[in-house]
């Protein structure tokens, strides 16, 4: 599917103009967005919404482990200190192999849900005087 050149630049502005003729309103914003995406990621495949997405979806939860690397790393670690793991402990690079100690604890939530907690509901105190409750800034943004 080829991109028309005249869609590239003015498309963004025209997409926002509601005065544009009929269906073109709906098409141009999407195409403009597509052009933006392709500009950022030129290698994006020509198969939109196809196998790549679906494969990624089906693979959710997959963890990779190589017992050879693991045992080698464990053997090395007997002699020297554990190399610093850096921010992402799941990333396997070079010497650093995630060991059981590194993995985040996959314990179940032993804590009761806050929906069922003691103070699961706000207690409203209607003030005798008028003051602006919203000014207390309870809500972020």
């Amino acid at each position: 599917m080829s991109q028309k050149q005249d869609e590239e630049n003015p498309a963004e502005e025209t997409g926002e103009e509601k005065q544009d003729t009929q269906e073109k309103e709906g098409i141009l914003p999407e195409r403009a967005e597509e052009a933006k995406l392709k500009a950022k990621y030129p290698s994006l495949g020509q198969k939109p919404g196809g196998s790549d997405f679906l494969m990624k979806r089906l693979q959710k939860g997959q963890k990779y482990f190589d017992s050879g690397d693991y045992n080698m790393a464990k053997a090395k670690m007997k002699n020297k200190q554990l190399p610093s793991t850096g921010p992402d402990k799941n990333l396997v690079t070079g010497d650093h192999i995630p060991t059981p100690q590194d993995l985040p604890q996959r314990k179940s939530s032993l804590v009761t849900s806050k929906l069922a907690g003691l103070f699961s509901e706000e207690i409203f105190i209607i003030p005798p005087l008028h003051f602006d409750i919203q000014g207390l800034g309870m809500l972020a943004a």
Partner: protein, 457 residues
């Protein structure tokens, strides 16, 4: 054959104009600056009577709220929902054979119709479905012969007299116990469960297959739909949602990532790979873009209570289909069309893959679905009106009316409007539920559960 089902026992929409006036009723959950992942609500469901409201979260926990009996001294407040029971439904697992981490997140909860004093629900994570029994205990037996009151066994030789244990009242205790565990039937991730109208069977659907279970039998399930291609390289679509027809126990529908819905009749063959009906809206090929397929992916499909219609939710709209017409929907409602010109960034931050659910009201006259910025949308099908409302702590004074919200799409922003660029895409409302008989709605906003009620005249 009724066209619309009206709820039994009052409280339904007033005849004629459906002029909802939604008011804040309750909010559950903590006000956290940093929301813990486990606290994110992942499913909300009323039971058949609406007296119980269940939530599931990412931490595998289920919390059930029960509606209080109406209080004569407070005639303006309809029954409020308070905690009835809470339990850990699923725990995180690791499948060592496949190196697969199995999340404890509750994907769906579905109630069974009530048949005795106990309540039953099905809850599922990605791999395992569980049948939970929730029962009340308000009596306790005392005066056992072979054990003490604290449960310690007595030495039988020291028992010199026999007595009959007697039942004594005790403080109400609500117990949840797993009665059935339906495991090892899904290679892929379960996205839906649906109880059949025969009240004996249910379906579970994952990305590529749908299985039929009998509620009493855990070691066997029948595969009724299988769309896995022989060669996985040829995979073009996955199953995104599935549901049984509310009255016809042989009929089910499933939606796909390509924006289509297939209706299957289990009487026609054991394996329903060939659909009976195929619902797809024709697309204008000239309007196709990279995003077309992604935003057409259906995230939820729900039959109307009447069983005559079904509703599908895709990224930008909600469509109502007449089951007798496969060629196109009878209604299309735009949820947040202004996002069409933001698809590039929504793709980059993965929001374009968010799975919004949708729901009908009891009489099928209105539908509701969520959006971003803690906004949710309601469409009145009869009056052809729609409204955008917000679930926020700011509008949470008791019985405060919700003010309609408006998103400004360009040009001058009026006072009280919010511009598209100011929307908070981390505040997603993916799960909402509507009481089956009355105008009470439950809206899950990340880790908080909001309950709104229609103002009583």
């Amino acid at each position: 054959h009724k066209r619309h089902m009206r709820g039994a026992g009052g409280g339904g929409c007033p005849a004629g104009g459906n002029d909802f006036q939604w008011c804040f009723s309750q909010v559950k959950g903590a006000i956290d600056e940093d929301v813990a992942e486990a606290d994110i609500i992942s499913t909300v469901e009323f039971n058949y009577s609406g007296d119980l409201l269940a939530t599931g979260d990412k931490g595998g926990r289920v919390v059930i709220f029960q509606r209080e009996q109406e209080n004569k001294s407070r005639p303006h407040s309809r029954g409020e929902y308070n905690v009835y029971s809470t339990f850990q439904s699923h725990e995180p697992e690791f499948d060592y054979l496949k190196s697969l981490e199995i999340e404890e997140k509750i994907n769906k909860i579905r109630w069974l119709p009530q048949q005795n004093a106990a309540h039953f629900l099905l809850s599922t994570n990605d791999k395992t479905i569980k049948l939970w029994k929730i029962s009340e205990r308000d009596k306790r037996a005392e005066g056992y012969n072979l054990k003490d009151e604290d449960g310690r066994l007595r030495d039988p030789f020291r028992v010199t007299a026999l007595r009959v244990p007697i039942l004594k009242p005790m403080d109400l205790m609500v117990e949840a116990s797993p009665r059935r565990i339906f495991a090892n039937a899904h290679t892929y991730h379960i996205n839906s469960i649906s109880v059949n109208s025969d009240h004996e069977t249910y379906l579970s659907a994952d990305d590529l297959r749908i299985n039929l279970w009998h509620l009493e039998i855990t070691d066997r399930s029948f595969n009724i739909v299988d769309i896995k291609p022989a060669n996985m390289e040829e995979l073009t679509e996955v199953i995104t949602a599935a549901e049984f027809h509310p009255h016809q126990c042989n009929v089910l529908v499933y939606s796909s990532s390509k924006g289509t819905v297939r209706l299957c009749d289990m009487r026609s063959s054991a394996l329903c790979d060939r659909h009976s009906k195929f619902f797809e809206e024709p697309e204008d090929p000239s309007s196709r873009s990279f995003f077309s397929e992604i935003i057409s992916s259906i995230s939820d499909v729900k039959f109307s209570h009447s069983g005559r219609y079904m509703m599908t939710r895709d990224y930008l709209s909600v469509k109502v289909w007449d089951l007798n017409m496969e060629s196109r929907p009878v209604e299309t409602h735009q949820v947040h069309e202004y996002l069409r010109s933001k698809l590039c960034s929504l793709y980059e931050n993965d929001c374009i893959f968010d799975k919004f659910e949708c729901c009908w009201n009891g009489s099928d006259s209105a539908i509701m679905t969520g959006s971003y910025n803690n906004f949710f949308r309601m469409f009145d099908r009869n009056a052809r009106r729609d409204v955008t409302l917000e679930a926020s702590r700011e509008n949470s004074k008791p019985r405060a009316s919700l003010k309609p919200r408006k998103v400004c799409t360009g040009g001058k922003r009026k006072k009280d409007e919010i511009s598209v660029d100011s929307l908070d895409f981390n505040k997603k409302i993916l799960h909402t539920a509507w009481h089956p008989l009355e105008n009470i709605i439950a809206v899950a906003a990340t880790n908080n559960l909001y309950i709104f009620q229609d103002k009583i005249n």
